[in-house]
């Protein structure tokens, strides 16, 4: 059996989505900007996709949803665009974000700092979320933008975007939220949160890779990142990847309609809870950030004495895919910044394993995963120095 439990990294393309994309490779391959029927023939499905995208996040017709390459591009665009418009060509010089954003936010903020921009990185509290009040007190006269994610990729924790949006509106500061990990898991309503910008990425909700979007509220200027043709109303140059856009539209519809969200919140949540509770029956295991107020599909669990990458190894040997932000797996070899930011014991910084489910996981898969995980924990703890025998006269230095 193969079990994919790494859906916060990417998801399987929904077979319906795949089918909807196929005609745009060899049949309807025209350039949407062309006047002839080859080009114009792509328009009906593109319009339909836009409708699904607007409905999916409750955007108004006057707003813009620009098709981008991914959420990384959308996030870069917002930060660099606001920098150009309000900092280089305005009187602002300050951006507020959190310590646990996606690297496309934090690395871009670090870059902006090298250009003289002042950035405040808000810490998360014990529950692994941001206090809206901390945003309010961080806002200054020269604050141009607040960028706080909707849901955290590692823990699934939901951030108080509605409150933050209201604060930003009352202080006349732009508000951006990276909703990449929220679409299809919880209701994302741009009207309700007074968001000026929302980023998302199709491959996190069973759409194709290489396509994403940026919602821009009506009337907001944002200097384009890509100059060139007049595509996307002049906001983003470059021929639109029609197949991907059509795929993303349908994926959005499949993930955000009332039935889908209900299924996520009921069925997927139950599977996640079953998996999580089974692991928590093992001694010395905890859910990082706690169980409250999370996306229904995610759990980040610390298993004492088991190094994250070795856990992934054992799971992979049994064809189960999960993930760890902790380190050995990546070249920079740093401990998971989210684990550190969430204030878990430094001893546990390398013990986090993230399981993220999707609507395509089954009960049988979760049963198999539980059995495999328990075996792996027992095996690795038997090898682990954390549980090793210490003779009477030896003072442990571990």
């Amino acid at each position: 059996m193969e079990v994919y439990l790494d859906n916060n990294a990417t998801t399987m393309v929904d077979p319906e989505v795949y089918k909807a994309m196929l005609p745009f490779f060899c049949e309807k391959y025209g350039n949407p900007n062309s006047l002839h029927k080859f080009g114009a023939g792509t328009h009906p499905k593109m319009v339909e996709a836009l409708n699904y995208l607007y409905d999916g996040i409750h955007a108004a017709d006057a707003d813009d949803i620009i098709i981008t390459a991914n959420a990384t591009e959308s996030n870069n665009w917002v930060l660099k665009g606001v920098w150009i418009d309000r900092i280089l060509n305005g009187n602002k010089n300050h951006i507020i974000t959190s310590e646990v954003e996606h690297p496309s936010i934090t690395a871009t903020c670090k870059f902006l700092e090298t250009q003289g921009v002042s950035v405040t990185y808000l810490a998360v509290n014990e529950e692994g979320t941001i206090d809206a009040s901390s945003v309010e007190s961080a806002i200054r006269e020269d604050t141009a933008l607040v960028s706080i994610m909707w849901a955290n990729n590692e823990t699934g924790k939901l951030f108080p975007v509605e409150e933050i949006g209201r604060i930003c509106q009352s202080k006349d500061v732009l508000f951006h939220s990276d909703a990449t990990q929220a679409i299809g898991k919880v209701v994302v309503d741009v009207q309700k949160v007074f968001a000026d910008f929302i980023s998302f990425s199709a491959h996190k909700f069973h759409g194709p890779k290489g396509v994403g979007g940026l919602y821009i509220k009506a009337g907001i200027e944002l200097t384009p990142l890509l100059n060139g043709g007049e595509q996307m109303g002049g906001r983003r140059a470059g021929t639109v990847d029609v197949a991907s856009m059509v795929g993303m539209g349908l994926a959005m519809k499949q993930a955000t309609n009332t039935m889908a969200l209900a299924y996520e919140n009921n069925h997927v949540r139950k599977l996640r809870d079953k998996l999580e509770n089974a692991i928590l029956e093992l001694p010395e295991t905890i859910v990082i950030g706690g169980k409250e107020n999370r996306t229904p599909n995610t759990t980040l669990i610390s298993i004492r004495g088991v190094e994250g990458e070795s856990m992934l190894w054992d799971l992979n040997q049994q064809r189960i895919g999960a993930s760890t932000g902790s380190a050995c797996a990546s070249e920079d070899l740093e401990a998971n910044p989210v684990m550190s930011a969430f204030g878990s014991d430094s001893e546990l910084a390398h013990t986090g394993v993230r399981f993220s489910l999707s609507r395509f996981n089954t009960n049988e898969q979760i049963d198999f995963a539980i059995e495999t995980i328990v075996n792996a924990v027992n095996r690795l703890r038997a090898i682990s120095s954390s549980y090793a025998y210490t003779p009477k006269n030896h003072e442990s230095q571990l």
């Binding site: 070795s310 190894w313 920079d332 390398h350 090898i383 120095s385 090793a388 210490t390 003779p391 571990l398």
Partner: protein, 326 residues
């Protein structure tokens, strides 16, 4: 960056079969109790290295015969990734049957080599080399405990890059002998910095006492200082050759030759010349000049006179001097 660096995430694919086998089923994993040590007729030594908070920790158990110093049995416990566990396993195995003073000579490079399937194919990808270093450190710790000495006493040299075990002395020498000016060149010559990259500059996986960027800067500075000192020491003697001179000394030398052998002739014709710049364009020294007075605009300035000036300087100073009128 190059083609091979563009698609990441294949770390596990680069593991040798040995690493995989030892991760899946480590043969020397386990613990040794005092009772078991006694049964074997030896002393139990327990050594710890690393920390869970750093992502790697290992405990090594040895049973040592106190008369022969032979390690009778060796087991480990490890918190770490696959490479850490496989390295610990082969390390524990390599210790068995060796005398303590022999075991302490086992390095992380021996451990990595023992994990290879083919002698010429590394057992782990570069960024995982570091995980085998701990296996080496814990042996030193165990030996130090047994011999009741300080762990540092086993390390005769200052190691800058632990993954490739490159010493400070080697790095300084290679910079000097080959006149290296970039960290990439140091890595090409010595392999230092080719693996976990921690020793290149601050901010990597591990904090270090010494970084290649600083060693390079310091060594280059001392080379420059040495060069100047040599030039100063030799300036009064005839041994100072043009190539060893500082720029000021070069300028002075050229000016003095010009004053004696060139300018008097130019002045006779109502002209003169000045030096604008000297550039080292190895192997040449390019001397940029400007003609003054009657010389500027004189047709011979780019032919006969020019060759004359150049010939005098080449004969009197250095044959690699070229004269270029502006």
């Amino acid at each position: 960056m190059a083609k091979n660096d563009l698609i990441s995430g294949s770390i596990w694919d680069e593991y040798s079969n040995q690493v995989v086998r030892r991760m899946d089923d480590p043969t020397h994993q386990g613990e040794i109790t005092e009772e078991q040590a006694e049964e074997l007729g030896g002393k139990l030594i327990v050594a710890d290295f690393g920390a869970e908070s750093c992502g790697d920790a290992v405990r090594l158990y040895w049973v040592v015969n106190e008369e022969s110093n032979v390690i009778l049995n060796s087991k480990f416990k490890s918190f770490g990734c696959g490479t850490a566990i496989a390295s610990s396993d082969v390390m524990a195995e390599l210790c068995v049957g060796k005398k303590v003073e022999e075991a302490v000579k086992i390095t992380n490079i021996d451990v990595e080599f023992a994990l290879r399937d083919e002698p010429d194919t590394p057992a782990v990808p570069p960024q995982k080399m570091h995980c085998s270093v701990m296996a080496y450190d814990v042996i030193k710790k165990a030996a130090a405990t047994y011999m009741n000495v300080d762990m540092e006493s086993f390390e005769q040299e200052v190691i800058v890059c632990e993954c490739a075990r490159v010493t400070l002395q080697t790095i300084q020498e290679v910079i000097k002998i080959n006149d290296l000016s970039t960290v990439e060149q140091i890595t090409d010559y010595t392999k230092a910095g080719a693996f976990c990259k921690s020793c290149i500059k601050p901010g990597g996986h591990e904090e270090k006492d010494l970084y290649l960027v600083d060693i390079l800067a310091d060594t280059r500075a001392s080379m420059e200082e040495e060069r100047m000192k040599n030039a100063a020491d030799l300036s009064e003697s005839d041994e100072l050759t043009f190539d060893k001179m500082t720029m000021i000394q070069k300028l002075k030398q050229v000016e003095s030759v010009l004053d004696v052998d060139v300018r008097p002739m130019l002045i006779m014709d109502g002209g003169n010349m000045e030096i604008i710049d000297i550039k080292e364009n190895m192997p040449h020294y390019d001397l940029y000049i400007r003609y003054l007075g009657a010389c500027s605009g004189c047709a011979s300035g780019s032919t006969g006179t020019l060759y004359g000036i150049e010939s005098i300087l080449q004969q009197k100073i250095d044959e690699n001097i070229r004269v270029l009128p502006i």
